[in-house]
């Protein structure tokens, strides 16, 4: 699909996605990235294979099911599939399907809120342990200078950003933790749209954004 993704999530995060240990916001990040990246789809499938082996190997524990379990299951099957056999197919657009499921459509469905200096954001509804939001950064503009308290992953959906001498384009994921102080800048040419996911509130290094932080929920 896209041949030029150079920055991928770590094995730890992909294994955790496969094992079911990630918070919803990070699951959304990985599902979105994998939709664009066959390399990581194969890595996740390999970790899923390990899950299958753990479920079904020679010395795995089993728990007896009730004597009527098969009959009950067959009755359940007769009632039909409770979930649609295929999810509603998204219209090909800038947002991969997992994101369209959360936004309710492609770019035009995003409810942006301005956070100043042309930067806009839209918070997505996920469980509370971590947060996911879409960021809109005008071409050539900097994201507010910030460090991190937890883990943050940022993935480019449109345009590109430059950070610390590296370029991140569509599908690329930048992973940052507490050690990194960084200032991504949107590349010239096109406004940049990113998915950013974090498990702790960001701290900004200039005074005004820091004051505004509790109201902005970032």
């Amino acid at each position: 699909m896209t041949a030029t993704i150079n920055h991928h999530p770590s094995d730890e995060v992909l294994l955790s996605y496969s094992a079911g240990g990630l918070a919803e916001a990070f699951n959304l990040m990985i599902a979105t990235h994998v939709s664009l990246c066959d390399e990581c789809r194969a890595r996740v499938d390999a970790f899923d294979t390990l899950g299958g082996v753990l479920l079904d190997n020679g010395d795995v524990e089993t728990a007896d099911v009730g004597a009527d379990a098969l009959a009950k299951t067959l009755a359940m099957i007769k009632d039909g599939d409770p979930t649609p056999s295929m999810r509603k197919k998204s219209i090909p657009g800038v947002l991969p399907q997992p994101l369209q499921d959360y936004v309710g459509g492609d770019l035009e469905a995003i409810k942006w809120r301005s956070v100043g200096m042309g930067v806009k954001q839209a918070i997505l509804p996920t469980s509370k342990e971590a947060s996911a939001r879409l960021l809109y950064i005008p071409a050539g503009a900097a994201m507010p200078d910030h460090g991190h308290r937890g883990l943050e992953m940022t993935m480019v959906l449109q345009g590109a950003f430059l950070d610390d001498g590296e370029r991140f384009g569509r599908g690329d994921v930048e992973t940052a933790d507490c050690e990194l102080e960084h200032t991504p800048i949107a590349d010239f040419g096109e406004d940049c749209i990113c998915l950013a996911v974090t498990d702790a509130p960001l701290k900004f290094n200039s005074l005004i954004p820091r004051l505004a932080q509790p109201f902005l929920r970032i």
Binding site: V34, D38, D48, G52, L54, A69
Partner: protein, 183 residues
């Protein structure tokens, strides 16, 4: 060695095909007899009580029936597929969260998986099973904890010492062929 060790994995894949093609209840009963007790044990280890685990195991097996047409034996063994269904059910029921899935890659009518690909993938899943059984107990327990317990990503060591790279390359190849066939 490879043909005999892959036989059970291939057989389960054929069982799923029989469900898909002729709604074969006998094939389903055999799959149920093998996998339902394993799914139930997995859910109990993940924190469900016995009656919830029983109910979920039945739902997982019913899903296997309904989604049989989505099973792709060139990318997963039946055990892998059952694991992913059970894991999603666990997140849904025990953690009450959505688990976003990647965009589907449905098989087109002209894109049936290559039998050679299927056989190799099934063999390699079997080899992974053997490699796991030869790991030191402590390492095996750590991997189990990552999958069945609730380790966070930072507590997980992704260096499992298992030949996952081979499987990844195999699946990558199957994906490339699929993309090519869908063009």
């Amino acid at each position: 060695m490879t043909t005999t060790t892959s036989s059970s994995s291939m057989e389960w894949a054929e069982h799923v095909e029989r469900i898909r093609d002729c709604k074969d209840q006998q094939a389903f009963a055999e799959l149920f007899g093998h996998f339902a007790p394993r799914v139930k044990a997995f859910l109990i280890k993940s924190g469900a009580d016995a009656s919830l685990a029983e109910e979920c195991a039945q739902e997982v097996m019913a899903t296997l029936w309904h989604k049989a047409h989505l099973f792709d034996p060139s990318r997963a063994s039946v055990a892998t597929w059952v694991f992913t269904i059970a894991r999603n059910r666990r997140i849904d029921v025990l953690r009450k969260q959505r688990r976003p899935d990647p965009e589907d890659l449905p098989w087109g009518p002209e894109a049936d998986p290559d039998q050679e690909d299927v056989l190799t993938l099934q063999q390699e899943s079997q080899q992974l099973r053997e490699a796991l059984s030869q790991l030191p107990v402590a390492q095996k327990e750590l991997i189990e904890k990552a999958y069945f317990g609730d380790l966070t990503h930072s507590e997980i060591a992704s260096q499992t010492g298992l030949p996952l790279g081979t499987i990844k390359s195999r699946i990558r190849l199957a994906l490339e062929r699929l993309r090519h066939a869908m063009k």
